[in-house]
Symmetry: C2
Subunit: 357 residues, 2 copies
C-alpha cells in the first residue's frame, strides 16, 4: 500500500518496498487471487456492465431490437512459451481456447478474429506452421477466422508471437447456462484426465529437470458440448478448467452460485505420468491448466445422459462424476482426500508453478 | 528467398543472408506493401473465407438462420510507444481504433472486448489511467466493454502494455458500404487535417530532435458517421486512414474497386505544424497515420449533404473534397501536385518513418 495515497493510513510500517503492490507481477497473470483482484479493482471498476459483470467465460449480448436473439462473445490473449509443444502449439491453443470459452455458454461458436503481435526476427516458417495449425483447428471446430490484424514489435519488445483471439457464437434463446446456475444437489462431472497441458508445456521448456512423456490435451470442445446439450438440455454449468486448473475454476463457480462444491479425490482422473511428475515436484494437479476438458454441472436426473454423450466422443472418453454441489459452506470447494480427510481447495493467491499460458 | 525450399531456383545469388526474407522485419507491420504481402501469403492463404477476403476494416457476418440480420466485426492489436502521448494514450487508441473500424462498414458499434498483455513491472497506476481513458472513450462512443483477458509476460518479454480490442456492431440490412464500392465519377471527401497522430507520437518519443506543438487526433468517429449516413445514405466507401496514412488507404480502395483515385494536393487539409515538421524531416503527410479521420467516397449528388453533416460535427469541421474517382489507370492513386505536375502515390513497400503504432 502506498501511504502517499492514504495519508491517514496508520497500520504497521511495511518492510517491503511500497511500490511492490503498485507494479504488475507475474502472479497477476496466474488466474488465481491476484488476477481476480486486479480484474476487480482495475477493470470491473471502470468497465462495469451486466454482460461483463456476469463473470462467465463469454459475454451474452443483444445486438439490436431489430435483430432478435443473443450472441456469445469471448476473448483471450495467448502467450505460451515455447510456442510449439507436444500435442499442440500457440495457434491451436488460440483457436481452441476461444472456441471453448464461447461454447461454455451453450452457444455455437461461428467466427473468430485473430490479432498477432510478432517480434522482429520471428521466423516466417514458424508463423506459417502456426497459421496452418490454426487453419486445421478452425476446420475441425467449424469456425471461420473472419478478421485479423498483425503488428510487429522491435526485437526485445516481445516474445516471438502473441495471438489474441475473439470468438463469436450464436446462442439459442432458451439456453441458461453459467457459473451462477449451480444448485445444491447438482452433480459435478469432469470430461477427462487433468494436468496434461500445463505439464507438457513445462516439460517442453525443459523446466522439469527430466524428460516426461506428456502431451497437451488442447482440443476444440464445441462439437462435444453441443452433443451433450442435445442429450441433456438442462445442464446448469459448463466451464473449462484452464489457467488455475480444476480447483480455481470450481472456486469461481462456488462463489458465483453461492454454493459448496464437494469433490472426491479418488474419482478425479489423472494419467500416471501426470501423477508421477506432480508427486516428484510437489505440484497439485488440481491447479494445473487443461485446454481440452470441460466441467459439467447438472441435476442428478441428467448425469447418465451426460456421461453417455461424453463417452461417445473422442475428447470425453474418460469422463466421470467427481463430486457434488452442496448448500454449505457456501463459496468453498472441499475435497475428500485419499486418506479420507477433508480439506479446503482454495484459490491460489500467487503461483504454484512457473507460468505456462 | 531460401533456396533450400526452391531447389530449382537459379536466379542471381543474393548478397544478403538468405534468411533475411524468412524473418519478420519491422516493415511487415508498417501497413505498406510488406504487410500486405505477409497477410496475403501467410494469413489469407490459410484463413480464406468470403468475410475475410472482402478486405474491409470489418467483417460482415450472419450468425444464424434463426437470427436475421448482419453484424460487423473488427479486431486490432495496439502497441504504441510511448503509451501516453499528447491528445491520447494506448487505451483511447484501442477503443477508437476498433470503434472506427466497425463504423467504416456503416455498422453501429455496440460492444468491445479487450485483451491486455502486461509486462512484469508495469506500473498499476499507469494501467488505471489507461483503463480510465478506455472507460471515458467507450462512454463517448456509447459502446460497452463486455469481455476481457489479462496476461502477464516476464520483464523483457513485452513492451509495457499491448491491448487487442475486438468490436462488434449491428449492421442495418440495407447497408452496402465497402472499399469495393467506389465508382468512376464518385467524389472523395476527407473529414479533416492529416498527420497529427503519427507526428504527435513521434514527438512524444523525442525522436523529432526538436519540440513540436502536436496533438494526436485520436477520436471515436461512430456518431459522426451515423449522422453522415442519415444525411446521405448512398455513400459508397468509408475508410479511416490509419497506419500507412491517406495514400495507403486510397491505394487499397483503388485496388479493391478497380478504379483510379485522383487527388488535388492543394485541397488536402494540413495544419501548419504538421507541414513544418514534414518539410524539415522529409516526411510525406499523406503516409502518416491518423486516428480520428474518415475518407468518404460518394456520388456527386451527395457531396453537399455529406459536407454539411461533417461540418456540423466536432470531428468534421475541416472536412473537404480532396479528389475524385476515375476509371483509369485502374488500381492507382494519382496526385496533382502544388506545382501542377501529377505523380503516382504508391503504397510504401517498407517504412518511411519510425513505427508509431
Amino acid at each position: 500500500m502506498n501511504t502517499d495515497q492514504f495519508p491517514n493510513f496508520e497500520g504497521p510500517v511495511c518492510p517491503l518496498p511500497f511500490d511492490h503492490a503498485e507494479q504488475i507481477v507475474i502472479s497477476h497473470g496466474s488466474g488465481g487471487r491476484q488476477t481476480h483482484d486486479l480484474i476487480r479493482k482495475v477493470f470491473h471498476n471502470h468497465f462495469s456492465n451486466p454482460a461483463l459483470d456476469a463473470g462467465n467465460d463469454s459475454a451474452i449480448l443483444h445486438l439490436s431490437a431489430q435483430m432478435p436473439g443473443k450472441i456469445a462473445v469471448s476473448t483471450d490473449a495467448h502467450i505460451v512459451s515455447p510456442y510449439f509443444f507436444p500435442g499442440g502449439d500457440i495457434g491451436k491453443l488460440a483457436v481452441c481456447g476461444t472456441v471453448n470459452d464461447v461454447s461454455m455458454s451453450g452457444a455455437v461458436p461461428r467466427y473468430l478474429t485473430a490479432s498477432f503481435i510478432l517480434e522482429e526476427g520471428f521466423p516466417i516458417r514458424d508463423l506459417e506452421k502456426i497459421v496452418l495449425s490454426m487453419e486445421a483447428t478452425a476446420k475441425e471446430a467449424e469456425v471461420e477466422i473472419v478478421a485479423g490484424d498483425t503488428k510487429v514489435v522491435q526485437k526485445g519488445k516481445g516474445d516471438g508471437i502473441f495471438i489474441s483471439t475473439t470468438g463469436i457464437g450464436w446462442l439459442p434463446l432458451d439456453r441458461r447456462i453459467g457459473g451462477e446456475q449451480a444448485r445444491a444437489g447438482d452433480i459435478v462431472i469432469l470430461s477427462g484426465t487433468i494436468g496434461e497441458h500445463g505439464l507438457a508445456v513445462l516439460a517442453a521448456r525443459g523446466e522439469l529437470g527430466f524428460t516426461a512423456d506428456l502431451r497437451s490435451d488442447v482440443a476444440p470442445l464445441n462439437h462435444m458440448i453441443q452433443t451433450v446439450l442435445e442429450a441433456a438440455p438442462d445442464i446448469h454449468v459448463l466451464r473449462d478448467p484452464t489457467r488455475g486448473g480444476v480447483a480455481t475454476t470450481l472456486n469461481e463457480i462456488a462463489s458465483q452460485s453461492g454454493v459448496n462444491i464437494f469433490l472426491e479425490e479418488d474419482q478425479i482422473p489423472i494419467i500416471p505420468q501426470v501423477h508421477a511428475v506432480c508427486e516428484m515436484l510437489g505440484f497439485d494437479p488440481l491447479y494445473i491448466a487443461n485446454e481440452g476438458k470441460v466441467i459439467v454441472i447438472c441435476p442428478p436426473s441428467s448425469v447418465k445422459r451426460v456421461l453417455e454423450a461424453l463417452h461417445a466422443q473422442k475428447y470425453g472418453q474418460n469422463a466421470r462424476v467427481i463430486g457434488e454441489v452442496r448448500a454449505a459452506p457456501a463459496g468453498k470447494v472441499l475435497l475428500r482426500t485419499l486418506i479420507a480427510g477433508t480439506r479446503i481447495l482454495d484459490t491460489l493467491s500467487g503461483e504454484m508453478l512457473p507460468r505456462i499460458c
